[in-house]
Symmetry: C2
Subunit: 462 residues, 2 copies
């Protein structure tokens, strides 16, 4: 039996213990956006550093101004590329909590009607389940060979869900330590449950929050209605004017730098057999809302978007309250593509908001971070090796796809450390990441571990 086959057999045999280790990590409430969970974030980092060290990869918890990083190294002077694996141990908040069928931090494996099994917990897919596929692959290799096929460094962060504020300074301060030949990132999805995918195009992100203020206090609408400014109305008008009737975003210069896909790329994507009916049907919808005249895959992969992720103002409890609130709020994110400039987008947004603020009102902004979009090199050598490994494991060609979400780290690796990234992940569209009842298919976890073992094996070959 070849080494890789022995490693794969070991992975199969150890699946139950791999799963119980994942459960330990899933139980840690590492919600990065809420300061109340800072200690849990640190606890998740500590758990991971210990796991890596137990495997034999010397790792430590490294402080930042925010949640800590975990960094580990296994350097043996192997001839193949030295890879840096990246993942994040932080998770999204769990609200609305009443829509969860179980405690989001008490993971369980459920069997679905078709007999398939899923791991249910916050972070099961994004990104604890995914990052553990790599850790468990490394563990199996070490157990079988006492070594890894290539030199491996590992970087795990705890602020991915909050725009990674500490990442730039950390990469800057540890440039030499973290610069490798190639980055591996496991935070993306498959094309479908049978078809692996490598993501070659990622949208960027700009996040901004507004607080509109008018009167110095909440007012009785009977006394001041019609006369005093109502911040709810201003925020409503800002939201209502952000798109035109054709679904295009109205900010000045918003589409500068947006690139139309070449015909041959569009042809490849059309061949993927993407079904709008299934895509929207899964979530109870039928009709794509975005820019008219565009395919839904374009809406998700290659067109920029604007979304109001949250808005609130005034009385939101039961019943009625005749109040004019002193302030109202909204959180916005813009997905960027092509060469759209995050700074220019933020400036155009803020200028638009200012144009909607009447006398007597003021607005305050809160910057929730930003990063440009990214396209990977189709001729990157590691890409062929990744495709081969995935083909061997899944028996199907890997799809080269775009990504609706944003993984700014890939841009940072390229721009700051001049390092290309291979984006391979095993999540699925129905994993409900960021939503109640997040899950990760047990098959994603199991075959994901096997996939990484194969990728490491391929990368070690000439």
């Amino acid at each position: 039996m070849s080494t890789i086959d022995t490693v794969l057999a070991r992975i199969d045999a150890d699946l139950d213990t791999s799963l119980s280790r994942l459960f330990e990590l899933l139980k840690i409430k590492s919600i990065s956006t809420d300061p109340a969970y800072a200690a849990e974030c640190r606890s998740a980092a500590g758990w991971l550093a210990k796991e890596l060290s137990d495997i034999g990869i010397a790792a430590s918890v490294r402080d930042t101004d925010g949640h800590p990083m975990v960094v580990g190294h296994w350097k043996n002077g192997k001839p193949g590329p030295h890879v840096l694996f990246y993942g994040h141990y932080d998770v999204q908040p769990v609200d609305p909590i009443d829509l969860w069928h179980r405690d989001p931090f008490e993971p369980s494996v459920l069997t679905r009607e078709d007999g398939s099994k899923i791991i249910v917990a916050r972070g099961a897919s994004d990104d604890k389940g995914q990052l553990m596929t790599f850790v468990e692959a490394a563990r199996a290799y070490m157990a079988v060979t006492g070594d890894l096929p290539v030199d491996v460094s590992i970087l795990l962060e705890g602020e991915e869900e909050t725009g990674s504020p500490s990442l730039h300074p950390f990469l800057e301060a540890n440039r030499d330590e973290l610069t490798c030949d190639l980055a591996l990132v496991c935070d993306t999805s498959m094309w479908d449950a049978d078809t692996p995918a490598i993501s070659v195009m990622l949208r960027g992100l700009v996040g901004d929050e507004i607080t509109v203020r008018a009167a110095s206090r909440d007012l009785h609408s009977g006394h001041y209605g019609g006369s005093a400014q109502n911040p709810n109305h201003i925020v409503g008008a800002i939201i209502g004017g952000l798109h035109d009737d054709a679904g295009r975003i109205t900010l000045d210069g918003f589409y500068d730098g947006v690139i139309e896909m070449p015909d041959d790329v569009m042809a490849t994507w059309n061949a993927l057999g993407f079904s709008t009916d299934v895509f929207l049907g899964d979530i109870g919808l039928k009709t794509p809302r975005g820019e008219t005249g565009r395919l839904p895959l374009e809406h998700i992969w290659t067109r920029p978007t604007a979304e109001v992720n949250g808005m609130w103002g005034g009385y939101t409890g039961a019943g009625s309250k005749t109040v004019i609130p002193a302030e109202a709020h909204a959180k916005f994110t813009f997905r960027l593509v092509g060469d759209q400039d995050p700074d220019k987008i933020r400036a155009a947004f803020r200028s638009y908001v200012h144009s909607k603020i009447p006398g007597d009102c003021s607005v305050e902004f809160k910057d929730h971070g930003g990063s440009p979009a990214l396209r990977l090199d189709f001729n990157m050598p590691a890409l062929e090796k990744g495709k081969k490994a995935l083909q061997d494991e899944w028996g199907k060609d890997a799809a080269l796809i775009g990504m609706g979400g944003s993984i700014p780290i890939v841009g940072d690796f390229k721009r700051m450390l001049d390092m290309d990234t291979l984006l391979i992940g095993f999540s699925l569209e129905d994993d409900q990441i960021h939503s109640p009842n997040e899950k990760y298919n047990l098959a994603s976890f199991h075959k994901g571990i096997r996939s990484w073992a194969r990728v490491l094996d391929e990368l070690s070959r000439r």
Copy 2:
């Protein structure tokens, strides 16, 4: 010393005990809109029934489908008009609680920089402080004379802040018991701290709440952004389209039945010396927002308005969350004037909302009640007696004013019991009713009690 002078002296002597009784009532957390406080509402009703009975006015707590009523009677066959006094013991919610300087249900008397004293607590002004001015006036009369100068019935409700859902059926079921010659209501304000007022014009109210739904669950904006409908955007567009650039409300037929004030009424109001600078300056604003070309007094008294009292959807916690929520919400109230028909306004609003709901989305409405506007008869005999009593107490003519707020009971008394209402109240614009740090001037409370004693005395005269 005449009887009324003896009664007034008694009121002065008893002020401290009157105040401690008011404090007992203010400590009861009778927030009617929140079902969690149902027992407190019942407790407030019980306290009031006992107080009235202690005075000698036989009173009881009367069940409804919602919070109970308190009804009491003192009928001696007096020759003057038999009056029905109305007040409400329920109060508004206290959020945002962190803006209160003290516990809203631990009342206290504070001395302001100018030496004047204020009573601070939720309900101090609206309406517990106000209703107790009448109760204490009656108590003083009974203490001095063992009688009241006219026959008095009392009706206190616990659902005024939630649209009085039980009031219609209660008036219907107890029509004979509650029909008197004249209603007295203490839930309105003075013109200013020195000038008493009788309210002769009240706006109506229509309350409606919308829930807009799109996808069957919350979505990741990276996966579905630009493609799936975002309910925040729909609610924003609904809010944003409700007014045109001239501040007029865009609903079909909204201004049907709105009446322009006669020139002589406008002249009277102009003479009141209303200062927009002071009115808006008090709340940190400068520029009236309403329909262009209208006086602020018109915005408040004689023009209809639309206000979004609350809106919410998606993530509202700290930081950023890239979610497209499954639903978004807003609470609306419309103030009505003249002959505007609440049912037609609600229908026009709902039709407008439906016109803004795209395919794939649905909307659900929650009716928060409605009532038409009301104008009182300037030639009502009791009006002259009320003016005389207030002139005697305050040394100034009472202003006959409009009311921005809504007191639907007055319309119900007229339409259901064919009973006119004298609206006399002692609150002030800066009482911060419905807001944090609600207060009632001690002078309002003290001279309010004296005023009611004088009104009862005047009403007993031929």
